[in-house]
Symmetry: C2
Subunit: 187 residues, 2 copies
DNA sequence: CGGCTGCGGCTAATGCTATTAGCCTCTGAG
DNA sequence: CTCAGAGGCTAATAGCATTAGCCGCAGCCG
């Protein structure tokens, strides 16, 4: 091994801090390199290119989220689990709105795998409702769509009215829980 | 007036067609100019810069969406109105997935106004549930979050499993309608 | 009918971006 | 002590948005 110096993980850390502080649009290799105290091309020794850096950041974010949510859901019952899951998710977005904006749903297997981890946690939380596998998949997708949509819109500041976002989110949680409890009549 | 030639609207049209055919990532002034049969800097005679072009595209998209949805909702009852609204929204995304990915929620007043038009239609559709204004705002936000989240995830191809997306969407509609019907207990 | 004004095109130039090539140095293993 | 390679560097390239400045033609005014 050569000098201590940088590593892929360190670059991702620097990039995440940059995004947290200056917004997703400020993510540029030059800016990351500058923060890392290194010349721009040096980053290529640790990361294949900007796209890969983005993917690695997304993986890191999803892993953070999965860890938090996993802990929050642990040992909770069905409805309470969903509530905890959704609350924790939103807390993360409120804490790091820029970071959430930087999330990318690339077709990279790396990112897909990290996403799968999140989905698995959701699936586990839904098991308690006594759904079969197919139903659980559909329910997970809805849960994900609702949370992700809310998160994206909030991170983009798309909710302009003065009404409290917390109350809106309470309603969203209510909608999800009620929708899961009330069976869908079969056609 | 000089020659017939281009106009801001025409540039937006060309850009939308480009995005439809080649994806949101292909949106570049050079590509738009080439399609319009004009040199790149000429676009600046019609559009202030790339950001404005993006905003104008978003406005156009939201207007399209508002028109369709407005027509779909017209003369329908509460639940049926919501179902029609959500179905129509998704049809648009399926028809133009790249276009939806190109949607930007800029803080530009122009875009905000177009978004407001969409929100107003949703609000109107929710009136039938006998909510007061505040409740209706919260409900609209939830509706929007659910639809937008689903749309974004679908446009980004984030749903990988073989289960039919149509069925998932049916469940989402069900969740929303049920959630709106079941009153939220007051704390 | 003739000249002027400005719209809408153009070319050239700038500065930022990611990315590649090729060099050099210091580290740590043998 | 040697030497290979990890990890830094500078220099160079190509594509991007954007700006400056020029030029021709259309239509209006006299």
């Amino acid at each position: 091994m050569a000098r201590a110096a940088l590593s892929a993980g360190a670059v991702v850390d620097v990039a995440l801090r940059l995004v947290d502080e200056e917004g997703a649009a400020a993510l540029t290799l030059a800016a990351v390199a500058s923060r890392a105290g290194v010349a721009t091309p040096s980053l290529y020794k640790h990361v294949r290119n900007l796209a890969e850096l983005r993917a690695l950041m997304s993986v890191q974010i999803m892993d953070d989220l999965a860890e938090r949510i996993g802990a929050a859901v642990l040992g909770r019952s069905a409805d309470e689990a969903i509530r905890a899951l959704m609350t924790t998710w939103r807390e993360y977005v409120v804490e790091h709105p820029h970071r959430y904006s930087a999330l990318v749903q690339a077709p990279e297997p790396m990112v897909a795998r990290a996403g799968q981890r999140l989905v698995d946690i959701m699936l586990a939380a839904l098991r308690a409702y006594g759904m079969d596998d197919t139903e659980a998949i559909h329910a997970t997708r809805c849960l994900r769509a609702a949370m992700h949509g809310f998160a994206v819109l909030q991170a983009e500041n798309a909710f302009q009215r003065p009404e409290k976002l917390d109350e809106t989110y309470d309603l969203l949680i209510h909608m999800v829980v009620t929708g899961l409890r009330t069976p869908l009549r079969r056609t």
